[in-house]
């Protein structure tokens, strides 16, 4: 079956591109994601409680979904399928440090599951649809689109927000795309990989 791309967003190297065009660059003193939060005028205090992986997913989802005509879908027709290489490993290390320091942090432990970022996105946008979190050693457009196809064929979703979020210290690598079963802009694993590689 054919799949279609509605919107995509690339976050990499301190820059944000939306649908291929430069949206903003990291300019101020604030950490990158905090600066982005201010730039898009968000007011969502829970953002500051999130770990870095969830913040990246949250911001990317925000910028993608606000351009995806979400209102055309029922609240359980949009699936969220995310992926990355390292799962929640950065937060795992931080949690483990608190444990070794004598007081294990429950607030950090909750974020030692990668799908928590999917939960944060579902809460924010009131999405009751399908979820999945996949681990792949690199961005795998074919696997993500295969998931979209399987969901559409099963009538389990009408659109899917797919995401790749990898955080290593200050290095953010995010890619987000809103994939639909019908539309104008047909997408393949090859074309989606190109967008990931070339912004």
């Amino acid at each position: 079956m054919s799949l279609f791309l509605k919107t995509y967003c690339r976050i990499k190297g301190g820059e944000v591109h939306i649908n291929g065009e430069l949206f903003c660059q990291h300019m101020d003193e604030d950490p990158f994601l905090r600066s982005l939060y201010k730039h898009i005028g968000l007011s969502y205090p829970k953002f500051f409680k999130m770990d870095e992986l969830s913040r990246l997913g949250f911001i990317g989802a925000e910028m993608t979904l606000m351009r995806s005509e979400l209102e055309n879908y029922a609240d359980d027709e949009v699936a969220v399928i995310f992926s990355n290489r390292s799962s929640s490993l950065q937060t795992d290390f931080q949690y483990y440090e608190t444990l070794k320091g004598g007081i294990a942090s429950p607030a950090l432990f909750v974020y030692t599951l990668p799908n928590i970022e999917v939960g944060e996105i579902c809460i924010r946008h009131k999405l009751y649809g399908e979820n999945n979190f996949l681990i792949t050693e690199r961005f795998d457009a074919a696997q993500l689109l295969e998931q979209c196809e399987a969901l559409f064929e099963d009538n389990a979703a009408k659109a899917v927000l797919i995401g790749w979020t990898e955080v290593e210290s200050d290095n953010h690598d995010g890619f987000f795309a809103f994939i639909t079963a019908s539309g104008m802009n047909e997408v393949t694993a090859e074309s989606l990989t190109d967008l990931y590689l070339n912004r």
Partner: protein
């Protein structure tokens, strides 16, 4: 030629069970132990050096084959299940392009977290190891979606088969008990000192357990040497409510059940057996009772298996589906171990003595952190 059922869903079969858990290393041994009322949970003082006393379900070392080169416990557990499930097939379907292996785990080899540079720590490594060891035709898919990972793996497998992407999919679930997970659940005050008591008035929390288990889903029933059942439908749904607290209305679980039954044209009262998540925490069990009531399942015979081997996290959905299928096949559903007195607000028909299912339909549900819920429906016999 694909066969369509009366609801228009193409047929997917499920079988080739393999298991490794505190109660044993074959489905029949484990189920016999459960029918005898045995538990694999044992009291451990300061488990893994953590300042707590808890019952945990550890797999005895002698049950874990050591012949694989990656000397880590979880990898060995998954490799053993892979081999045992394959032995129950007419051929190893996973060395070809039309076979896929899905690994469901929350934390993988998290016992290596103290050695950040150990290449065996990242989850992706599990997939590469299995691919190399068993000469798999495709990269394994790795699902890490909290405590619904196992049920989600089964649903994902069936969808990929129905979409014509693969003919056979093996779903492997596995997680170990470690200092990392035990300390985390202790920090959340979610562990009980004694044995967990799902749905009971005096429940005070969970026991962690470790397990690996395997099931094969296929569009071709002739691949199975032994018995098999039928996968009917499944769905996941998010509560969109809270990342670590279950929804007070059971919204996501209720929706996942509705979206499972509707495409199959099955009514709630046709379900003969419900294997629930039943962790033994106050909020989870209460949420489930509300979701089941909303879904018309208050009278369905239901149990939680957590009292037999603990909460096995990413493996839970696979091991509990497998044992649920075993119980349906034997027509002997085990009591919900640890339950004595009703402790949730909505009525539930909790199994207290070994009982026969009253229909062929079996529903498995799971819920997890991140607000995720999943359910899957099977037909046995």
């Amino acid at each position: 030629m694909e066969t369509k059922t009366r609801t228009g869903l193409s047929e997917v079969f499920i079988g080739a069970k393999s298991i490794l858990c505190p109660l044993g290393d074959t489905p029949s041994k484990v189920y016999d132990a459960m029918l005898n009322g045995e538990t694999g949970l044992k009291s451990v003082d300061r488990p893994f050096g953590i300042d707590t006393t808890s019952h945990v379900g550890l797999i005895p070392d002698h049950l874990i084959p050591q012949e694989h080169m990656d000397s880590l416990k979880l990898t060995n557990m998954l490799a053993a299940c892979y081999e045992r499930s394959v032995r129950k097939l007419r051929h190893d379907a996973f060395q070809d392009k039309d076979g896929l292996v899905i690994i469901c785990t929350t934390k993988g080899n998290i016992d290596k977290v103290g050695e950040p540079n150990d290449p065996r720590l990242p989850l992706g490594r599990l997939g590469r190891f299995l691919k190399q060891s068993f000469d798999l035709g495709n990269d394994p898919m790795i699902i890490s979606n909290a405590c619904i990972s196992g049920v989600l793996g089964i649903i994902t497998a069936a969808r990929l088969i129905r979409a014509g992407k693969y003919e056979h999919v093996m779903v492997l679930g596995g997680d170990i008990v470690s200092e990392f997970t035990l300390s985390g659940f202790a920090s959340l005050h979610a562990l009980t000192e004694g044995l967990c008591k799902p749905y009971d008035k005096n429940r005070t929390g969970i026991n962690l357990g470790e397990a690996a288990a395997g099931l094969v889903l296929s569009s071709d029933e002739t691949i199975f040497k032994g018995s098999y059942s039928e996968y009917i439908s499944g769905a996941s749904s998010n509560d969109a409510n809270h990342i670590s607290g279950p929804s007070r209305t059971g919204e996501g679980l209720h929706r996942s059940i509705e979206r499972t039954l509707k495409p199959a044209s099955i009514e709630a009262d046709q379900i003969g057996y419900l294997s629930a998540h039943g962790t033994g925490t106050s909020f989870n069990d209460e949420m489930e009772s509300i979701a089941f009531e909303r879904s018309g399942l208050s009278e369905t015979p239901v149990n939680s298996m957590k009292g037999y081997f603990g909460h096995t996290l990413g493996a839970a959905g696979v091991i509990e589906t497998l044992l649920g299928l075993e119980g349906m096949k034997r027509k002997q559903l085990v009591p919900s171990l640890g339950f004595e007195e009703m402790g949730v607000s909505q009525p539930m028909n909790i199994i207290q003595e070994t009982t026969a299912p009253n229909s062929a339909y079996f529903l498995k549900t799971a819920s997890g952190f991140g607000g995720c819920n999943a359910s899957a429906l099977f037909k046995v016999g």
